[in-house]
């Protein structure tokens, strides 16, 4: 297993926008590292660059301190699982798994024992003599894993390995994959567009957008302390509510209420600027009485729509109550440019416990702890620092 370092890695085509733009990363030995982002963000290209299927325009890739970016994929000793699994259709499962070992010129006995071990680990023993065409999606996925792990490579690279499975199998395979990684202590780099996979699997996650790394960190860190609007909007489902607001003499003035100075971090005192306020759906609390923490934003809204999912209830809050500005320069335009998950039409959503009963059209009284309010620069989308608190 190995440490993989990327330094100022760039990839571009002549006359086009860069696919990868100055990426610097270190993936630690034994780490389950996730590259996540919307489609076209460059995550698969980055994975292909690491394994050697794409040439870099600039930068270095090092494995355990040795430069590898000039090497052919076959000389990098990394294994890859493709989204399509890329099983050789003319070979049986056994031959597929043995293929990299045969190419490496291992003795027959060694190949047989390694294939047997992989087959046992992945429960493939019963289908070793079948051709891939006869296998189910889940079996194919496991064969692809088997072909990767028999080699005992320095690192495993996985390109959306679960996206061709149905929802139920995906959840099951996801946890199997996590256990497998733990058991092997392997360095794994995993590409996905699915934030749930990123959050549940990754020791650390790198969020990419437009060929650039937006933020790298543990899932909890990214969720709690997003460095910019894109990261904040990308993680979480439903996404963070974004509301345009301004800081002025009265404090933080939102269309839905005002938070006074005392609740804001010290750095903001005296500033005047346009901001975007981010509130996660789960941070809206229902006010039954007048009780709420001392530094809270109190809101009265109308329940436009209610989705009851059993364990939780999502309530869309009526925009007319908030009087959100629409049109040029509003939250819609900025958010649309930043992320596909936030659109101008996105309503404000609050998440309650499933036991809460809310009738459509009824008024709802809510409060949000000032600690749970995120502030982003209205122009750059960067999280304003100092953030309200370093959330843990």
């Amino acid at each position: 297993m190995a440490t993989i370092e990327l330094e100022n890695v760039s990839k571009g085509f002549r006359g086009g926008t860069p696919v990868l733009d100055d990426i610097t990363l270190t993936i630690e030995e034994g780490e389950f590292f996730i590259l996540v982002g919307p489609s076209g963000c460059g995550k698969s290209t980055l994975l292909n660059a690491i394994v050697g299927l794409e040439q870099l325009s600039a930068g270095e890739i090092r494995v355990d301190g040795q430069r590898v970016d000039h090497l052919d994929p076959k000389d990098r000793d990394m294994a890859m699982v493709f989204q399509s699994y890329a099983l050789y259709p003319h070979m049986t499962v056994r031959e597929n798994i043995a293929f990299p070992l045969r190419l490496a010129g291992l003795p027959k006995a060694e190949i047989a024992s390694r294939v047997a071990a992989a087959a046992e680990m992945l429960e493939l023993a019963a289908i070793l003599d079948q051709k891939p065409a006869r296998l189910s999606g889940g079996q194919r996925q496991r064969v692809a894993m088997g072909r990767a792990l028999v080699r005992k490579p320095k690192a495993f690279l996985l390109d959306e390995p679960l996206s061709n499975l149905d929802a139920r199998l995906r959840v099951q395979t996801r946890s199997e994959l996590a256990r497998l990684q733990q058991r092997l202590g392997a360095t794994m780099i995993y590409v996905t567009h699915d934030q749930t996979e990123a959050m549940t699997l990754g020791h650390r996650v790198a969020i990419l957008n437009g060929g650039r790394i937006q933020q790298v960190g543990a899932p909890r860190e990214l969720y709690r302390n997003p460095s910019n609007l894109f990261v904040a909007g990308f993680l979480g489902s439903p996404g963070m509510n974004l509301i345009p607001a301004r800081i002025d003499g009265a404090g933080l003035v939102l269309p839905i209420g005002t938070i006074d100075w005392k609740s804001l971090p010290p750095g903001f005192a005296g500033r005047k600027q346009a901001v975007l306020v981010g509130i996660r759906p789960e941070h809206f609390h229902r006010a039954r009485t007048d009780e709420s923490p001392p530094h809270a934003l109190r809101v009265e809204a109308r329940a436009e729509w209610v989705e009851w999912l059993g364990a939780e209830t999502f309530v869309q809050l009526g925009p007319q109550v908030f009087d959100l500005p629409a049109g040029p320069g509003g939250v819609g335009e900025l958010a649309a440019g930043q992320s596909s998950t936030v659109t101008s039409a996105a309503p404000i959503v609050a998440r309650f416990d499933g036991t809460e009963q809310v009738a459509v059209g009824s008024p709802v009284r809510l409060w949000v702890d000032a600690e749970d309010i995120y502030l982003f620069d209205a122009n750059s989308g960067i999280t304003l620092s100092p953030s309200p608190s370093q959330r843990t």
């Binding site: 050697g52 890329a86 003319h90 293929f99 990299p100």
Partner: protein
């Protein structure tokens, strides 16, 4: 079978009926008629001697050295040209598949010979190999009179065939190459395969059905070779092929009975070759997609 199933089956037959009728008119009828003719003594120079002779025409064809010599010649031309075409065609297909710069130009230029009429190509190569005015002798600094000796006449015929039909082979193989998922090649690279190993262990096995179909098409085509030989040697220097024998008997000597027997035997040879290919290559047309 349900009522609906029967109705669909009936509709299926109706829909394919026009094609079946056309096939019957243009292939089944001539084949059957030729077979019928082959059972008669029927020479247009002696029309009054017409009469049913059973298998006698076949006996005289099969006992004639001309038939066996022509068969040998034909198989020689077929084997040599198809073998070379396969190798060259594969190389061209790989080139067309991989070409990133000037893709259209590469494809178009490779396909030019196939767009040229066989007679014209045969004449062009005949001129090229002309001992005094052709460019081949000039280029090689030889004084060879190519079409006057058996081995060199064969060489010219085979070269013409190869030049003319390799693009067809390349085109068929290119279609097969395009069906191989790029991910498989990439996976093989990551698995540690060199370019040669990728070709040997991934591309070629997956191309097997396509190669089988391409070779079958070209072999059947080559067995029926006529134009090139007719234009370049007229069967001289002992280069006569099966089609030439049929032509001589049927058209030149107007012996419809004997000529039809030759034609029917060519049909048998072609059918045997096709059957052999389907058996040995495991080529089934559905599988070759």
């Amino acid at each position: 079978m349900t009522e609906r199933g029967r109705a669909e089956r009936r509709l299926g037959w109706w829909l394919s009926a026009p094609a079946l009728v056309a096939m019957a008119l243009v292939t089944v009828y001539p084949i059957a008629y030729a077979f019928w003719l082959s059972l008669f003594r029927h020479d247009l120079r002696f029309p009054e001697q017409r009469g049913f002779v059973g298998w006698a025409n076949y006996a005289s064809v099969l006992s004639s050295p001309v038939w066996w010599q022509a068969l040998t010649n034909t198989l020689l031309i077929t084997a040599a040209s198809v073998a070379v075409e396969l190798v060259l065609g594969f190389a061209m297909a790989l080139l067309m598949h991989r070409a990133t710069v000037g893709r259209q130009t590469v494809r178009a230029s490779i396909l030019v010979p196939y767009a040229i009429i066989t007679v014209v190509a045969a004449l062009a190569w005949k001129f090229a190999f002309d001992p005094t005015t052709g460019f081949v002798n000039a280029l090689l600094g030889l004084q060879q009179s190519w079409l006057t000796e058996r081995w060199s006449a064969f060489l010219v015929i085979i070269a013409t065939e190869i030049w003319k039909t390799t693009p067809f082979m390349a085109l068929l193989l290119l279609a097969g190459l395009a069906l191989i998922s790029e991910d498989l090649i990439r996976a093989a690279r990551v698995d540690g395969a060199s370019a040669w190993q990728r070709l040997r262990h991934v591309t070629l096995p997956l191309m097997k059905p396509t190669i089988g179909v391409a070779m079958l098409f070209r072999t059947l085509d080559a067995v029926r070779i006529f134009d090139t030989v007719y234009v370049q040697t007229r069967g001289g220097q002992n280069t006569e092929t099966l089609s030439l024998v049929a032509y001589d008997t049927l058209i030149v000597r107007l012996n419809l009975g004997l000529g039809s027997a030759v034609a029917a035997l060519i049909f048998v040879v072609v059918a045997l070759i096709a059957w052999g290919f389907l058996r040995s290559f495991g080529v089934s047309l559905e599988e070759s997609r």
